[in-house]
């Protein structure tokens, strides 16, 4: 109350001026200042960062780190460092950083995030940087990494989904869906559950991966490439199969993947539909577990595949260095080692399984054969919107599991919301 109006006016205007000044400073964006450099002369000395959720896995992380160390020791110019991005917020964190003009130089993405990032210009086009023919990249999965005629990544890992089963609990793996249900029921006793899958909102991305197999396995698809078909009878049939197992009380309900995978490793779960990458995790959690892997016993011989591309951030100041590491990793010798780290996944180019790993995991060739029939977990034709469609679908499916609505209603609602989203 002690100040006279003119003074107050001045002081406020000073503050306002500062505020405006800072706003202007903050608002004018500076584009990525990276220079493309002279690519012919080899990479400039640099330390680059590599973000991969694989690095956080207790089973596979140390192996991948060892491979990175090997690269760092193999030459003196480029040092690759793991970036600090924990799995629970991996996609959000990396995309926030990239949208803000920063981010790790190299990233291992899952397909939905890859699709979004590539369509938003956040990824460096690799058309003339990667010689697919010379590197013998497997064309099937590789074709998903080109968007609008430009290549934005290479395959880091391609993990087919299959049925993991505990041979002590499930001596005769089921061959049909009915047998699958029956086996799950018969195996569930006390602390032991016949089956496990993800079914909570807290694991939206995981639920999507899991229901993908049911939808494909019953002949459905999320779209025909041009139009969404979330409410088509085949999709609903697959999801009803998923719900049938949920309602049969043969799974540890409410348990998250971290828990039920530990349970599988400890002989408390009979069967699980999971990707090949899980082989390493299982055997590192319990080396004595007597388990095997076979094709998912659903009517249609088609299943999801966890396709994980490796990309170069368009904001990177050291693209040459990033590419150098990428090309090193794509060499045959490194591909074999990478595959050893990743377990039963395939990598970018064809590799021979070592005799040692075949002896340890005799089912590996069966897993590799699935590569042809594997479908990456995106909505065909709607790649960039996959994450949003996923959110809609998973929310409605879970509401059906909780008994709020039947599956047909759920998918009719999902179809309507998703159509609005993609503007159909």
């Amino acid at each position: 109350m002690s100040l006279r109006p003119p003074r107050r006016g001045r002081s406020i205007s000073v503050l306002a001026a500062i505020a405006v000044g800072v706003t202007v400073l903050a608002a004018c964006s500076s584009g990525p200042s990276a220079s493309s450099g002279n690519s012919s002369a080899g990479p400039q000395p640099a330390t680059i960062t590599f973000a991969a959720s694989t690095l956080g896995d207790p089973g596979r992380g140390p192996g991948l780190q060892k491979l990175i160390d090997e690269y760092n020791a193999s030459q003196k110019v480029v040092t690759v460092q793991p970036a600090a991005v924990p799995y629970p917020t991996f996609g959000q964190t990396v995309l926030t950083q990239m949208g803000g003009g920063e981010g790790p130089d190299l990233v291992r993405f899952d397909m939905p995030e890859f699709a979004t990032a590539s369509s938003s210009g956040l990824l460096e086009p690799l058309d003339d940087k990667i010689d697919a023919a010379k590197l013998k990249l497997i064309p099937g999965p590789d074709k998903y990494l080109s968007v609008d005629g430009h290549r934005y990544g290479v395959v880091f890992e391609n993990a087919n989904y299959a049925m993991f089963y505990n041979k002590d609990l499930v001596p005769n793996p089921p061959k049909t869906f009915d047998e699958f249900v029956q086996t799950a029921k018969n195996t569930t006793k006390g602390d032991v559950y016949g089956l496990a899958f993800r079914q909570t909102q807290a694991e939206e991305a995981g639920v999507w991966q899991d229901i993908f197999n049911y939808v494909l396995g019953f002949g459905g698809d999320w779209s025909d490439g041009k139009k969404l078909t979330l409410d088509s009878p085949k999709v609903i049939e697959g999801l009803k199969a998923y719900q049938q197992l949920y309602d049969a009380n043969v799974i540890p309900k409410g348990a998250d993947a971290a828990t039920f995978r530990k349970m599988f490793a400890n002989g408390k779960v009979g069967m699980e539909l999971n990707n090949g990458g899980y082989v390493t995790a299982t055997s590192s959690a319990n080396a004595n577990l007597n388990f095997s892997v076979s094709r998912i016993p659903f009517p249609e011989k088609k299943q999801g595949t966890l396709l994980a591309p490796m990309v170069v951030n368009a904001n990177s100041k050291h693209k040459d260095a990033a590419l150098d590491f990428m090309n090193w990793l794509l060499q045959p010798a490194q591909q074999v080692k990478l595959q050893g780290v990743l377990g039963a996944s395939s990598v970018a180019s064809p590799t021979e399984r070592s005799a040692e790993s075949l002896k340890k995991f005799p089912f590996l060739p069966a897993l590799d054969e699935l590569t042809d029939s594997g479908v990456p977990q995106i909505v065909n034709g709607f790649g960039p919107q996959t994450a949003d469609i996923r959110h809609i679908v998973v929310t409605e499916v879970l509401a059906a599991l909780q008994g709020q609505q039947d599956m047909a209603t759920a998918m009719a609602k999902a179809q309507k919301q998703a159509e609005k989203l993609v503007g159909q």
Binding site: A83, P88, D191, A265
Partner: protein, 277 residues
Amino acid sequence: MRQIRFGVTARALAVLVVLGLAIFPVYWMFVTALAPDEELFRSTSVNLLPDFSRFGIFGDALADGRVARWLLNSVIVAGGTTALSIGLGIPLGYALSRFAFRGKAAVGLALLFTQMLPEALLVVPLFAVFRRFDLLNSLHGLILADTAFALPVVALILKGAIDGVPRELDEAARVDGGRPPTVLARIILPLIAPAIAAAAVIAFFSAWNEYVFAVTFVFDKSLQPASVGVAGFIGEQDTSIQSIMAVGLLFTLPAVVFYLFAQRYVVSGMTAGAVKG
């Protein structure tokens, strides 16, 4: 409340129940960290006691080196945030308490108001500001971000404490020739020391626990604070429940120890202040 005649035994029992509720989850983290897998996944019986033969898991976690690094980073960030928010909060609280000026009510309201802004709302625009001023990927950047969220509540607490100091004391000091900064430093600060301790504790914990900025603004593994490090134990393919509990406990203990240490000053001092006020 001595008049509440509630037998000593009954009170002691009630206290034990409260303490049990307060401590049990932390104790259970300890038991879980030391439990073998077959113990974790058995619903038929339960072992309430820790298996000390597996105590090595804590040693392994510490020997890792990363854990010590995370804790150190967290201490730096939390300590820096505490110092900066107290440093900025004291003059602000003093001005709000002792001066009448235009816009005072607005500043007070704005302080309460900024307390309500969630980190998630501001993280994207702040990222741009930080990039502009080259504050990304650094511990001092995190200190600046965390201080912005701790400062308002610190200032409000300090203002309340200064309100409780009788004005006659600063009047007397000014009569003796003290200028406002001197009055603040010589007369007021010693009297509100307990409130400063309380505010420091709040600032420390808000930075110690902060995750959203820490995960978005820091890229180097060597600069990760413990909140991010602990979350990194949640893996995509598998998660070791025991390791994450062990690391979570190592993350909890320094905060608890710090609090128990600071609390003596907070409570004893606050008491004195309250009686005088």
